[in-house]
Symmetry: C2
Amino acid sequence: MSKYWNERVHKLEPYVPGEQPKDKRYIKLNTNENPYPPSPGVLAAIKAAVDDSLRLYPDPEAADLRAALAERFGLSSENIFIGNGSDEVLAFSFMTFFSPDRPVMFADITYSFYKVYANLCLLQADVIPLDDSFKMPVSAFCEPSGGVIIPNPNAPTAQGISIESIRKIIEADPDRVVIIDEAYVNFGGESVVPLVKEYPNLLVVQTLSKFGALAGLRVGFAFGAPELIQGLNRLKNSINSYTIDRLALAGAKAAVEDTEYYKRTAEHIIRTREHTIEKLSEMGFKVIPSEANFIFITHPQYDAEALFHQLREKGILVRYFHQPRISNYLRVSIGSDEEMEAFIQAVADLVKA
Amino acid sequence: MSKYWNERVHKLEPYVPGEQPKDKRYIKLNTNENPYPPSPGVLAAIKAAVDDSLRLYPDPEAADLRAALAERFGLSSENIFIGNGSDEVLAFSFMTFFSPDRPVMFADITYSFYKVYANLCLLQADVIPLDDSFKMPVSAFCEPSGGVIIPNPNAPTAQGISIESIRKIIEADPDRVVIIDEAYVNFGGESVVPLVKEYPNLLVVQTLSKFGALAGLRVGFAFGAPELIQGLNRLKNSINSYTIDRLALAGAKAAVEDTEYYKRTAEHIIRTREHTIEKLSEMGFKVIPSEANFIFITHPQYDAEALFHQLREKGILVRYFHQPRISNYLRVSIGSDEEMEAFIQAVADLVKA
């Protein structure tokens, strides 16, 4: 606390990202990074951009990247906003579309940054409890509110929601913005990006950090009707005209154009996920159905927090959330086959002991 | 306007950056970029960072870069905040240290983003007129307010303010934060970074976009007492945990460590500036004393806006501000010797005609 902070900053409860420890090498299954590298084309495109032109500002409108995304998704550039990772896109969306006078709806078990954004924007939150099997209760999200944000698939549960359910929530009130956060949609979920042409109140957010294997480059997107995108641009241009550097622009464009490479990578991760689920199920773990590059697991006989610490001692990082309803769960990112074998072996040893 | 934007976004008046036209090649003297490239060490450090580790998140605390800056400036890492360009650092500072209940002070002729930030944060602005020679009126800035922001040197005038004057403004009220925006300080001004150890209410903001020749990389810094830096981190971590990508972290660290190269570059720019001023003065231009990598010029017989358009037709971009008191001025970035010869020749032709 400090007398120099304003009231809002005093009341903030900042997000805490998964730990990035430097004390030793860990098998990192705690921040949902892609275990496989960016495509060779991406690395080549970035290297080609490392030159004297770094002295010049980047294109503040990211025109080339937006054109590449428009081409890939069958949209127009006017449907696309680019941000410094999807977290920035989400923060700007909260600042642009939601108001303190009407609550924003999100699930009780969901990406914990939403609560932070609501707090930042002095918004009321209408927190909707997931049902007993951690599914989104669609009818509750159709009740009146000032806006909705739903990840598909959800985090940290990894469970998806159907396009038909999303349509119902969007159609329940055409005057409120519904944000679908598709950070993990490319690992088995179904994207609603095509629906932005149909619904002016739908904003879809994606990122290159997971599927694109570029968490280190910081690029996220929003797809929506032009008036939603214009609102985001007004906000962005009141904070920072140039949020994406020249190298990130070059790398992101190459990633968008190299979909085949990334599809193969995602298919590999899905196979590894299914194998991991099979092995964990044999050990008595309950695994929430996953459409993501991570799984959410619990065991009736073992304490998740204890397992978290025991795995950490064995050099394996997973994510534990000290939070009601999920305090006996672990979120485990899907790593490479070798990393997951090591994880399965470590868990088996702990469960046997 | 859109029914989906909240009230605040409706009222925003976003910043308009200098144009980046793509219709043909211009001599770009309109966005104060460095005419010389980043140091070879910077390009090598970035290239070395283009590898598979881009799949991993960057260090959210930018520990290595902060350590390099601490070393260079004789400070501690706790005194240093890193942002996505100094614009983001400034926006976050407005969001953290200023409140709607007390006005923030800035000059009538200054960096036009300050008004945008004030608007974004719903702040009142106490706008202080520069004196007739465009100097900061120190006593006016010592009057009560909720905060102060002053660029040293000022933009777009390029004129500096003395450290003694800054001390007076800081000491006038130890309970309010004074931000000194040193985007251009390395072209002849004197930095107050050492004073952050003395004054808990001083925040100094710098950037790699000008002196560091890395406008395309998006890195800015704030220096201040640990409690100011903690406030900025609370705000940042409520928006985006990872604002600086891996490549920018690598390049910025190399730039901070390569001060000798950049000092030589700045000295060259200063020599070019003085030569340009001499030539323009011979043509009857009045040039505000410059401590920056740009100059602010006016001519008693020629209309600045007309000159702006005529120069543009000749392929030379400078910046014109349609604004009271400075509507007959042009801001001209200092380019390479060749670029400035072309500019001087073009102006001479226009003035003769």
